[in-house]
Symmetry: C2
Subunit: 403 residues, 2 copies
């Protein structure tokens, strides 16, 4: 069954395409979700987008824009009102003056990551990327001939990134470092000291830092969020990416952005005209409301954090009660990345668990090479679903013998 | 002044970027529009999107989707309801059975063009592209090392493409041909005989045809629209791209698509996950309404064509009355690409005309190398604006001496 599933996803090299497309892997998430779609009574702990409804003030502002006939293009870089609101908001948060020229609005954070990595990667250039990490980075680097230098993260450290390991990995060909805190798939939040040490050494060596901060508002236990923007002296070597998707449950509305130096933004605005032209106009108006109607937005975020915190705390307990799984307490995002015993194949376990219990998780090797004995559990689903999922997982795990 | 404007847009190679980005040119349209933004009393004949409001049934369906909480991701390839509606609609139009697996929904036609050209181009591969053409194609081909083989079009033929010239240009390294009918910037509609001759020879030689059909509903004088989809035997070597942007005045809602073989679509769906993840969800619902509420849509298109036809007819008269300009009667889109006398620099004329009369057009060299003595005039603006623009242009042209 594993083999037949794989063959479903197998593709030989087709001469129509540039062989560079071979860097795009079989999509591990889609594989599980598609198998789940053929089954009844599946509980998804596999979801990568918020399950909480988007706040009414954001939806209403988008509707107002449509009713006002806002169906045409904005300027290349984005709606001026959104650029202004983002400049003010990030200026306030980072204590650093920013102008609209420091910002480009994109089709979700994905397009911003795509623009940055495609525009920077070239044969021979090395990129430092933690492993595991979100599956977008490595293929986009390799597609243009760049080389990925992985920094393996360790479960026993809660997947924290050791800044000294990053600094030791920097070499004469290192072009950039990709950071993602809080992390998908681990939920790990890097402390200010980690970010500062990496950013400072990178600045000293002329290495760029690309920081994917899409989970920057999903931070639990009242911890501070150290954005790269508040940990650097100059903007000239950092590119900070985020979006409304996770903070405001707007993943399908596809509004993200990058903040960087004016020179870098100017170049990426041009590239952006060739990838997607501009971002969605009515949903950019929704984004303006998200940033300007602060009290409503702050209340929404507060409620969301209370809900996710409850789920996280219960999930951590349940994982601790599960035979063969070793957890930890993630500080952000809505993921936990528990380990199976060393040497156990997480892909096989995730597939068998889906088939035998109906609980859909994502295998660890979707996110890199270092941790094939892990699985990603998303708690972007109700507490009831989480309880029911573990009512199935715990007895199933008891029966397993990984010896 | 020309020089100071150019220096504004000059950029040295920055070592942060892959030098491949040097293939992206100075944006000729943006240059004119930005200069115009510093002036008072400008009439824009430079617009590349419809000026007619989007139809209420499309806007209302988008609003309904937002009110129903549709703010999350769709499936990778697009909203299933939209894929179904597109398969039915194109199946009906082309007389060819299509399934949702033949379609990917993208962030406007731009992303579909980007996916196709980036995924196909590679060093040494040759692409046949008419000149002038929409400015997206050439940079995207060259960015990945592909070679552009231009077919110069001639004003005296109304910018028709001679299929024999295309066939003569096909060589052992020809990978694909890019077609765009009706054309931006010329408004030229290729007859069925042209499309069939090119597609048939391409099929015979294993050459791909990428057809940008975004103006496929802006066809005047009740002419038939020969889509590449209705001119090919098999789908395995064609990729047909379109969008709702021009047909339904939805450019800012960013919903486009590609229709191709299932194998090609499968590969591009994966690439798409790495460029933008998915297209905008609520606006895909707007697209479903555009396709399914046929009577409302057909009436909208009928009214739009009546309006654009009036404008085109008057514009053709006015260009004929203008000294030094030679026009023709375009069959589609909302552009006319009249010529200045041979050897006259259209960029200089367009800039001086903007500065001295306040009428903003786009210089011909924005669209290629062959026709630097042309300017693009868009009639996506009111008849009153067109009249007022030529009330300024005609006396100004009388004063010019291009001898």
């Amino acid at each position: 069954m594993v083999n037949s599933l794989d063959s479903d996803y197998y593709e030989s090299e087709d001469p129509v395409w540039n062989p560079a497309l071979l860097t795009i892997p079989v999509p591990g998430i889609r594989k599980m979700v598609n198998l789940a779609a053929t089954m009844n009574d599946v509980i998804h702990l596999s979801i990568g987008q918020p399950d909480i409804p988007a706040p009414p003030h954001v939806m209403n502002a988008t509707i107002d824009a449509l009713q006002a006939g806002q169906s045409g293009y904005t300027m290349d870089a984005g709606l001026p009102e959104l650029l202004d609101a983002l400049a003010d908001y990030y200026g306030y948060r980072s204590g650093r003056p920013l102008t609209p020229d420091n910002i480009i609005v994109t089709t979700g954070a994905t397009e911003a990551i795509f623009l940055a990595l495609q525009a920077m990667s070239a044969p021979g250039r090395e990129f430092i990327v933690p492993d595991p990490s979100f599956m977008l980075y490595t293929p986009l680097i390799r597609m243009n001939g760049g080389i990925v230098h992985s920094i393996p993260l360790r479960a026993e450290n809660g997947y924290q990134l050791d800044p000294q390991e990053v600094i030791d990995a920097m070499g004469p060909n290192t072009h950039a470092i990709v950071l993602n805190s809080p992390s998908n798939p681990t939920g790990t939040l890097y402390p200010r000291s980690t970010i500062e040490a990496i950013v400072e050494e990178a600045a000293f060596r002329g290495i760029y830092v690309i920081s994917d901060e899409v989970y920057d508002h999903l931070i639990y236990d009242d911890q501070e969020y150290p954005s790269v923007l508040s940990c650097c002296s100059d903007l000239d070597h950092v590119m900070v990416i985020s979006s409304f998707s996770k903070t405001f449950s707007m993943a399908g509305m596809r509004i993200g952005w990058m903040i960087a130096s004016q020179g870098h933004i100017k170049k990426l605005r041009r590239f952006h005209m060739f990838t997607t032209t501009v971002a969605n106009t009515p949903c950019q108006w929704g984004g303006v409301a998200a940033l300007l109607q602060r009290e409503l937005s702050d209340n929404f975020i507060k409620g969301m954090l209370e809900e996710y915190t409850k789920r996280r705390d219960r999930l951590v307990e349940l994982v601790n009660q599960t035979p063969h799984l070793t957890g930890y307490k993630p500080e952000g995002a809505f993921y936990l990345f528990p380990s199976l015993p060393a040497g156990v194949n997480g892909t096989n376990v995730a597939l068998r668990m889906l088939k035998e219990t109906g609980v859909c998780t994502i295998a660890g090797d979707t996110f890199g090479d270092a941790l094939s004995n892990a699985i990603r559990i998303s708690y972007s689903t109700s507490l009831d679903n989480i309880e029911e999922a573990f009512a199935r997982i715990i007895p199933w795990m008891k029966e397993q013998d990984f010896g």
